[in-house]
Subunit: 327 residues, 2 copies
């Protein structure tokens, strides 16, 4: 295992210390590193809290700040945070308007956020994201997995929360954005969880995992490495086959951590032309490492439907460590 | 070679097409893909043009936009752009106030930018960056190499150009920022140039290249993989030993493309504490993939001295595909 670390046991804590120091203008690290929260809360606003296993950075802590999350709870690598983390986060950032949990659909995460919701004194609503069209159930999920589309839900609901909307409105909006969002990924290499010390899975030099999950879970099938165009053909067909109808959309080409920007932009080019042939107009774009799987090589495509309201909320100012525009 | 590509010959062109489509609000691709330029030029401003071999994305095209570059000329992967590219770029973005070339110190780049300067009708000044303390001369350079510190020069000089300063002032400022900037890198893995098809160099499973260049050129020595703290010790000692005196600084922890954000923040944590023990106060921070070497695993540290003027210019608004704040 080749990693820039000191000890397997302290990877997360040292990384969080660095993160909170580098972005101290935006975030603060909570006691016992249970959560990362905004340095400054906005009076009257519903609090948005997300979280999940670490190793997907910048998701979620990189999206704490104006226009997105109020707090994020980092679990160990690829391991759900524990309920006490979400309870502590809710206590820290709920200023009376309630709390919306945004949770990726994995059994551990859903269970732990549900438990936290029952145990905290805050009024809670939960949006569960499940944008991955690759498989219907998987290693860690009953039903579809929540993957890169989660950051789109966080951005759009985050913008609406800044406008002062109430908890039930935000819950409905989050569910609506999730239901208009589809993703699919491909892995060219595995990743190595520090505590495991060896790759999560193995691929031959000429193989790829089509439909891979963000923890290296199996996808649809393992096949010979194909061209970017052939990969885009399959992913776009899977996404658009499930997301009926034409219209405007966000296209997110998300790197899993080990793929250069050159390749991500090349995939963007391939995906965009294929979407437009199917009547999906790409009017907003995001290309980069946003929802990663440590150093895995590969990428996912996410398409998220836009209407006038969602487009306005997407364009609204955001000021977080990993996403910043308009302010 | 495992890459998301269609053909080795079209990697760059397809990637540039994707890049310019994804960021059409900010940039436009020039004829024959010779350069990427701002979609909208600012009257009266000195034009800033950079460029170099591709494979270091987001450097340089990702830094075209308000507050940084006016144009960037992308060469083939790890290959200097040709003079006709810089000439075409200068013709496109020089609106009468002259052009500043910002060039990383590699023989091919310096020669081609010099030739372009002689052949174009524009008034030209040149800043050559050479921030890498690892080695004094290298495979492609006479004198120190220009590496991640280049993006700091581009940001600070870019902000000054927006203020309407003249060409000679900007040249002097660029030289001053470069002279206060030092970097050093480490590689845990090699990278593969698409046209070559095999790794640029090889490292054993327990080895790293200390002082590596951004094209995979040799550094100071090949040694056994060490802890993040031990790596930070050596890099910070090399940087501060060459950059005398205490004071405020920017700390950039730059990923080479294949290293997860978790590890970069962990390195930031290690580097920051070591710098502060040596009297360097880290008052501005940047952590991420900014000057990459395709999918190489590893990172570089860059320390750049701040005075009140440089801090103000660093903080000034910037709106480019890869760096955005304050607007």
């Amino acid at each position: 295992m080749k990693k820039l670390i000191n000890s397997v046991d302290t990877v997360l804590s040292e990384s969080l210390d660095g993160f909170s120091a580098a972005h101290s203008d935006i975030v603060t690290l909570g006691p016992e590193r249970k959560f990362v929260r905004r340095a400054t809360l906005k009076p009257g606003k519903v609090a948005l809290i997300s979280g999940g296993g670490s190793g997907h950075e910048p998701l979620h802590a990189g999206f704490v700040g104006h226009g997105m999350l109020d707090a994020a709870c980092p679990g160990q690598v690829f391991t759900s945070p524990t309920p006490d983390q979400m309870i502590a986060a809710a206590e820290a950032v709920d200023i009376g308007a309630g709390v919306l949990f945004i949770v990726k659909n994995y059994e551990g995460d859903v269970m732990n956020f549900d438990m936290a919701a029952e145990m905290t004194g805050s009024e809670i609503a939960i949006v569960v994201t499940d944008d991955d069209v690759a498989v219907e159930t998987s290693t860690f999920s009953t039903g579809r997995r929540g993957v890169a589309g989660t950051m789109i839900v966080e951005k759009i609901v985050g913008a609406a929360a800044e406008e002062g909307r109430n908890l039930q409105d935000l819950k409905a909006l989050g569910d609506r954005v999730n239901s208009g969002t589809r993703s699919m990924g491909v892995a060219l290499t595995s990743c190595t969880v520090p505590a495991a010390g060896s790759p999560t899975f193995t691929l031959a030099d000429d193989e790829m995992e089509m439909g891979v999950g963000i923890h290296g879970e199996p996808g649809r099938r393992r096949v010979k490495l194909a061209s970017a165009d052939a990969i885009a053909d399959e992913m776009v067909a899977a996404i658009t086959g499930d997301l009926n109808g034409a219209g405007d959309a966000i296209l997110l080409v998300n790197g899993f951590g080990g793929t250069p920007a050159m390749e991500l932009y090349l995939m963007y080019n391939a995906a965009r032309s294929r979407l437009e042939k199917r009547g999906i107009r790409v009017s907003r774009s995001l290309v980069g490492n946003y929802v990663t799987s440590l150093e895995m090589a590969g990428c996912s495509l996410t398409v998220s439907r836009l209407d006038a309201e969602i487009a306005r909320l997407w364009d609204a100012p955001v000021h977080t460590p990993a996403l910043r525009w308009g302010m």
